[in-house]
């Protein structure tokens, strides 16, 4: 990843809470030294990035030593690994490093978004899974609240979805 200020390879990763929102900045060693971000006291990310403004809240800069970097929550693959081998650790890495992906694929392909084949039934399967999770949660709540009538209805609905999923998974 490149330095947000000058575009050289970045070494310092910063995460900061600004007005309740997480902001991330990466800098090269020179720019980091220049802005004094390696000194965790009294540094405001928003000033650096947004050119000043009074809306920043708690200023806690967390400089990360080189060799670490953000990691994929699913597989632990880090940003550093990505920069080193230019490959990903798992499907979830693409979500975790979405910004980097955009930079990486610029110029690599004819476009930035997929317009080809979509696996059969994948979208449908996802929606069903989401719906199942939702129903399961409501069922748990109904049972806790001893609302057995509602629970029975929910259980039937869950069973129905599970059956239809099982059917579509077995090729006829």
């Amino acid at each position: 990843m490149d330095c947000d200020k000058c575009g050289k390879p970045a070494k310092v990763h910063l995460t900061q809470l600004v007005g309740g929102k997480v902001k991330k900045v990466v800098l090269c060693n020179e720019c980091a030294a220049e802005t004094g971000v390696t000194d965790p006291t009294g540094f405001a990310l928003a000033d650096l990035l947004l050119g000043g403004g009074g809306e920043h809240g708690v200023a806690t800069a967390i400089p990360r030593p080189p060799g670490q970097g953000r990691a994929c929550p699913e597989c632990g693959f880090t940003l550093d690994d990505l920069k080193r081998i230019r490959r990903f650790g798992c499907g979830a890495c693409y979500e975790a490093f979405r910004d980097q992906v955009k930079d990486m694929i610029r110029g690599m392909h004819k476009g930035a978004s997929h317009c080809g084949k979509v696996p059969d039934g994948l979208m449908e399967m996802r929606q069903r899974k989401l719906r199942l999770g939702e129903l399961q949660e409501r069922l748990d709540q109904a049972v806790t609240a001893e609302n057995y009538e509602e629970a029975a209805g929910l259980r039937d609905e869950i069973r129905q979805i599970e059956e239809s999923m099982a059917n579509s998974e077995t090729p006829s």
Partner: protein, 374 residues
């Protein structure tokens, strides 16, 4: 299940160009890269995770109707020479041959569909057809891919498409390529120009074994590079059009060579015949280059038509791992060069010297008969 010896004994029809016009475009190949959702990609997965992917995918693939009586082996159960033979037949990649435990190769009995498990991605599938026929190869693999997708959940993102280890394969995961024999473009010095033009429209040109390999025997592979931002149909259409154009250039160049400088063509083909017919020690590279000229001669009518097929078989048989497996032992480079020359001599025994006299006479006729130049 098919044994390795059966696989070895029966090269696929596409390898020898049976049933298609393969004088210029030898084969058309489609490759799809796929991964399972929720499991790290092979390069990042732990050993148990790779094993788990293999245990899930292998029976699934083997169980598909088209894989009945096919070939299926884990890579640690194959010797390095056996794996190398499969590379030489384009059934697995060089990268895959370097793998062992936790990876497998599954091949359909006509060898038109081949699957690598835990290569760079969990699933790399390919379909190959003889001649220029990318669309039917794609149709075949597309149907296969649909069957697999019914049984497993692929890693897929609505924005980025099929998720792959390397971002160069994102989106469709589709790499389509064709193998072309372009001796006349090389002889007439037009090859650089043609390949540059192909490169300019974003297609890649490589040697016969893919990425990072040099061109041998005037064989070139042309493939798409971009996999994201266009549909499969658009990618295939462009590639097929460009390949057809390059093939036409080659055809024209062959015709023009015969017209402008028949003596030079006859000399080249005749010399190649002479060397192959009488050499006792021959390196792979030299053999491939001479066989390329015999193949050209076959297409131009210097030799009977079947000689093209014979060349394609020889191209495969004289490669290092093929020689070693035929001889049942590891051979040094010098031993291989001797055996290679012997195999070529024996195959060429039945091939008569080029019919140069007829060719030159035909060429003088105005109502000249078909020289095999369409």
């Amino acid at each position: 299940m098919m044994r390795f010896s059966t696989l070895l004994k029966h090269p696929a029809d596409w390898m020898t160009g049976k049933g298609a016009d393969n004088a210029v475009v030898l084969t058309s190949r489609i490759r799809l890269a796929r991964n399972l959702a929720g499991v790290p990609f092979p390069g990042w997965a732990r050993k148990e995770q790779r094993q788990q992917v293999l245990e899930e995918l292998r029976p699934t693939i083997e169980g598909l109707s088209c894989m009945r009586d096919g070939f299926s082996k884990t890579l640690d159960s194959l010797s390095s020479v056996q794996k190398q033979v499969m590379v030489e037949r384009h059934l697995i990649s060089r990268e895959h041959a370097a793998r062992g435990e936790g990876s497998a190769a599954i091949i359909e009995r006509r060898q038109e569909v081949a699957v690598m498990l835990n290569e760079e991605d969990h699933l790399r599938m390919q379909a190959i057809r003889p001649g220029l026929d990318l669309s039917s190869a794609y149709e075949m693999l597309d149907a296969f891919d649909n069957e697999v997708a019914e049984a497993v959940e692929y890693a897929f993102d609505p924005e980025l498409g099929y998720l792959t280890t390397c971002p160069t394969n994102l989106g469709t995961g589709l790499r389509a390529s064709a193998m072309l024999h372009l001796p006349a473009l090389v002889i007439s010095d037009q090859i650089g120009q043609v390949l540059q033009a192909v490169g300019k429209i974003g297609l890649a040109v490589r040697g016969i074994f893919g990425e990072g390999t040099e061109s041998l025997g005037n064989l070139f592979q042309i493939s798409n590079q971009s996999t994201l931002g266009e549909s499969e149909a658009t990618i295939l259409r462009r590639l097929e059009r460009v390949i057809a154009q390059v093939a036409k250039h080659e055809r024209n160049a062959r015709e023009k060579l015969l017209e402008d400088d028949p003596d030079m063509v006859c000399d080249k083909v005749g010399r190649a015949y002479g060397v192959l017919r009488h050499a006792w020690i021959i390196e792979s590279k030299e053999a491939l280059n001479h066989l390329s000229l015999i193949r050209l001669g076959g297409d131009l009518g210097f030799f009977p038509e079947e000689s093209v097929l014979m060349c394609d078989e020889l191209l495969m048989e004289i490669q290092p791992a093929h020689l070693q497996i035929q001889n049942g032992k590891k051979l040094g480079a010098e031993e291989r060069d001797g055996i290679r020359a012997e195999i070529i001599r024996s195959r060429l025994q039945t091939l008569e010297a080029p019919d140069i006299h007829t060719i030159k006479k035909q060429e003088g006729d105005d109502d000249s008969p078909d020289l095999g130049i369409a």
